[in-house]
């Protein structure tokens, strides 16, 4: 399949990249969501701005306890990076397991957040971790919390001129992502990420709603003294899972409770 025509630009720096962005222009990172969509002509772009090689987006560092992962860091690089392995093992583990090796060599977690597939793993994990995405645009810099990023099925609050430059992961005590799939390298039929941090346990689910889903009922029950098993029983409350060839909605609700229970068991003492 051949995509429709587009122009391709490869800026040398972040400022230049931001200056090139605007309506009709798409950021190209690893291309492992965008290129298939362009080939299938599910989406169009007048021009692509390739940020995949920008050195400023390819760094991982620790900034006062916050792990800052550059937007062009690939899954495979995440899996191998000592700082990620030490300070955010849940993302390091995702980096070594999501999809397949070829996809991990190109795809970026930041691109997955911008793509905002509710079935995606990184969006649910980001929501549970409470990450912020650092954004640059012609108007300046800002950060967007994951909770304000996902607005609909593959829709975000990012605008046409926005460039995500990094993912900022706050410190936490323990985190686990539990995913149920039909074959190991595929999207979650349902997934749950549980994170224990200074303000309690946060839980977010993959593929049970139009956006990655924060299971606030589970979190509240735990705060009120419920056991992990009691809290996990509430995981499907409020969800609206897809009903498709990979599984009926009722099955996904069941799985939501199961994967939440397993994830909680990993992070609660």
């Amino acid at each position: 399949m051949i995509p429709a025509r587009f122009d391709y630009l490869r800026p040398d720096g972040v400022d230049e990249a931001v200056a090139l962005l605007g309506p009709g222009t798409r950021v190209l990172a690893g291309g492992h969501s965008l290129i298939p969509a362009l080939k299938l002509r599910q989406t169009t772009a007048a021009r692509l701005v390739d940020v995949g090689r920008l050195a400023a987006l390819r760094t991982v560092e620790l900034d006062a306890g916050v792990l800052v992962i550059g937007a062009a860091v690939t899954y495979a690089e995440l899996a191998a990076h000592p700082l990620v392995r030490r300070h955010c093992p849940v993302l390091a583990r995702l980096g070594g397991r999501v999809a397949d090796p070829q996809v991990r060599h190109r795809g970026t977690p930041a691109g997955a957040l911008a793509h905002a597939d509710p079935a995606g793993d990184a969006p649910a994990i980001a929501l549970a971790l409470g990450v912020e995405v650092a954004v640059r645009s012609a108007a300046g810099s800002r950060t967007v919390p994951a909770g304000a990023l996902f607005t609909g099925r593959r829709e975000t609050s990012l605008r046409a001129g926005d460039l995500v430059t990094a993912i900022r992961v706050p410190a936490h005590d323990a985190a686990w992502y539990e995913k149920f799939t039909r074959v190991s390298h595929m999207w979650a039929i349902a997934g749950a990420c549980a994170v224990r941090g200074p303000s309690g346990v946060r839980v977010a689910l993959a593929n049970v709603a139009a956006t990655p889903w924060r299971a606030t009922g589970v979190e509240g029950a735990l705060r009120d003294g419920a056991t992990p098993a009691e809290a996990a029983a509430l995981a499907a409350d409020g969800t609206d899972p897809p009903d498709d060839v990979h599984g009926p909605a009722a099955y996904r609700r069941h799985l939501a409770r199961v994967v939440t229970g397993r994830a909680l068991a990993r992070v609660t003492p």
Binding site: I2, Y8, A99, D100, P101, R106
Partner: protein
């Protein structure tokens, strides 16, 4: 757009449309047809090549993204068709273990296996299976492919 890349050790320079896929550049412009296009939707791995030493699905990489890089295709694992001694150990092992039937997946499997062994010269069965997760074979049931890759790995480790 003018791009230059090294393909199997040889410099290639040319003018390409930005929308040209790396798989199409290899097959149609360079006539390196070992790289297959199977699913064309980034699932099957038949189009796997090494880009700067890492496996990628060339149906999901733009040729312009490979500009300045180095590409290795299954052709680089071949030798004299009549003389297996000249083949890459992986190619020999696939033959010895009957690790192919129709052969459509084979070039992608070989390149994926080469990429795997470059990072892990002694993978156990589990590591081979996970390492080849991006490559689908509809014929063999994978068992013989796993045997071939572990067999080739052993040979490559013992080679001087």
């Amino acid at each position: 757009m003018k791009i230059s890349l090294i393909v199997n050790g040889t410099l290639w320079q040319g003018d390409v449309e930005p929308r040209l896929l790396l798989a199409h550049l290899l097959r149609e412009r360079l006539r390196l047809t070992a790289t297959r296009i199977g699913c064309d939707t980034s699932f099957c791995g038949a189009c796997t090549v090494l880009l700067d030493g890492r496996t990628v699905k060339s149906c999901t990489v733009l040729a312009v993204q490979a500009d300045g890089g180095s590409v290795t295709t299954a052709e680089s694992l071949a030798g004299d068709p009549d003389d297996p001694a000249t083949w890459h150990p992986l190619a020999r092992a696939f033959r010895a273990h009957h690790a192919l039937q129709c052969g459509f997946c084979t070039s992608g499997m070989l390149v994926a296996a080469a990429g795997l062994l470059a990072g892990d010269p002694d993978p156990d069965e589990d590591a081979v299976r996970h390492g080849l997760e991006g490559n689908i074979c509809r014929c063999t049931g994978y068992g013989r492919i796993v045997d071939a890759v572990t067999g080739a790995a052993a040979e490559m480790r013992s080679a001087p």
